[in-house]
């Protein structure tokens, strides 16, 4: 089951890129250096959960089932 309504809050994102490292198929840094969701089911649920909890600025929102 995918993680519900996965999104990155751009006002909180500073662009450290941790999410891109742990879930590279799900997140990408855009031209301005902010993280964005490219595929909400791109990686395993565990990896996406790591990305959510691993974000230093708590910028990733999503409800884990």
């Amino acid at each position: 089951m995918p993680i519900d309504s996965l999104r990155v809050d751009r006002s909180k994102c500073v662009g450290f890129g941790n999410c891109v490292r742990v879930a590279p198929q799900t997140f990408r840094l855009d031209e301005e250096g902010f993280s964005t969701v490219v595929d909400p089911v791109g990686d395993s649920e565990d990896a996406i959960e790591d990305a959510i909890e691993g974000c230093p600025s708590s910028a990733i929102e999503g409800t884990t089932p």
Binding site: G15, F16, G17, V22, P24, G33, E53, G54, S57
Partner: protein
């Protein structure tokens, strides 16, 4: 039976990786009687441990409370400054403190320093006329980050040497606080002097703002609102200190490994785009921080063991970063490795605030040294490692060029 080795013995300072591998394979959450700490070595456990609510980063509050019984000592004042360091705070205070740097210390802001950084590197490398020898730590890897963090914060160039020596003096207090709260009078004094110096600097930039981090944070208006002036000063002492030694070790350890593995060095010279992935691989392979210390604030089942309230945990980043369950060929240096979810800069709320700066310094400084000095090679002298559990740093690195 796993031997209870001393992480500060000459053998393990020189090469801790074989022991970390043994622990990871045989007892990944291992109680060390010698260090009075749980040694956690698997990637999966370390990456959970760094963000686990039962594992507290606050090692200072008990020391502050103990020091409260003592008369106005330098020790108490020094501990009060340390209690403001982000690295010693848990959420939600940690988030409140760190929040003031949200806009001032981001990858985008840091990337604007590229030009100034290149100039500083040129300035340090310019005087080197081959052939010659140098101590790469003293002559390049140490002064560079010191000058960069000073300039970023707004410390005048003329004062850089002063706070270099403060930073050196403070080190035993920080690492002492991690180990047994020893009192180092000199270190306490240095920390108080540094705080006084920064107080004056903040006053100055409050009156006459300039283009630097202190001015930018003041301009944003959080100081005096969400954080107190004392908290701000405390965090600035932290930034100055943190900006020094870790980056020094990234550069020195990094250049050393490239010299030990000429194929990887050649790849970097031939393919300049690898300078973007190389710093992260060097952080993974042999980074500046071996481990992170946490305290248990409650009993918890962790990685198959029961850990008790009050016990100490060493989350061993250097072991996690070589875990074959996470990395293919973990013991091989591959400067093109991507993605590279290493834990060398931490993970979660405490993830290194200075990561963008460390990466940028590594990205420019390491290739600069090896390109500018084509005959660079290691001199055959015994290596002398800093006798520290947390940091992995060489006292000297002698090279010929």
């Amino acid at each position: 039976m796993i031997p209870d080795l001393d992480l500060t013995s000459p053998e393990l300072l020189s090469d801790p990786y074989a022991y970390f591998e043994l622990l990871r394979q045989q007892d990944p959450v291992h109680w060390s009687e010698r260090h009075r700490a749980w040694l956690v070595t698997r990637y999966a456990d370390v990456s959970v441990g760094v963000r686990h609510p039962s594992l507290s980063a606050d090692r200072i509050t008990p020391l502050v409370e103990r020091a409260a019984d003592e008369d106005g000592s330098a020790y108490r004042s020094a501990m009060q400054i340390l209690s403001k360091w982000m690295v010693f705070n848990d959420p939600p205070d940690h988030r409140r403190l760190r929040g003031i740097f949200h806009d001032a210390f981001t990858p985008r802001v840091i990337s604007q320093m590229r030009g100034a950084l290149t100039e500083t590197i040129d300035h340090l490398l310019e005087p080197l006329e081959p052939p010659g020898t140098m101590n790469l730590v003293r002559d390049f890897a140490f002064p560079l980050p010191a000058m960069v963090i000073a300039r970023l914060l707004g410390v005048p160039d003329a004062d850089v040497d002063r706070f270099k020596s403060w930073s050196d003096d403070i080190a035993p207090l920080i690492f002492g606080a991690l180990q047994q709260a020893e009192r180092h009078l000199l270190a306490q004094q240095a920390l108080l002097e540094l705080a006084d110096y920064l107080k004056a600097l903040v006053r100055r930039y409050r009156q006459v703002p300039a283009d630097n981090l202190i001015s930018n944070v003041l301009r944003a208006g959080s100081v005096g609102q969400t954080v107190s002036e004392d908290e701000f000063i405390g965090m600035l002492t932290h930034l100055l200190f943190a900006g020094h030694e870790t980056t020094t070790n990234l550069i020195a350890n990094g250049v050393r490994h490239l010299l030990l593995q000429p194929d990887e060095m050649e790849r970097l010279i031939v393919n300049p785009s690898l300078s973007q992935t190389a710093p992260d691989e060097l952080l993974r392979f042999d980074g500046p921080a071996k481990l992170i210390v946490r305290w248990l604030i409650e009993d918890v089942d962790f990685g198959g063991s029961t850990l008790s309230k009050g016990q100490r945990v060493f989350l061993i980043l250097a072991a996690a970063n070589r875990d074959p369950a996470k990395f293919t060929e973990p013991d091989r240096l591959d400067i093109g490795r991507s993605p590279n979810p290493h834990l060398g800069l931490g993970f979660g709320p405490h993830f290194c605030l200075g990561a963008p700066l460390a990466r940028l310094e590594g990205e420019i400084a390491i290739p600069s040294v090896i390109r500018r000095l084509p005959n660079l090679r290691l001199l055959d002298r015994p290596l002398n490692w800093q006798p520290q559990i947390v940091n992995r740093g060489l006292k000297e690195l002698w090279v010929a060029y």
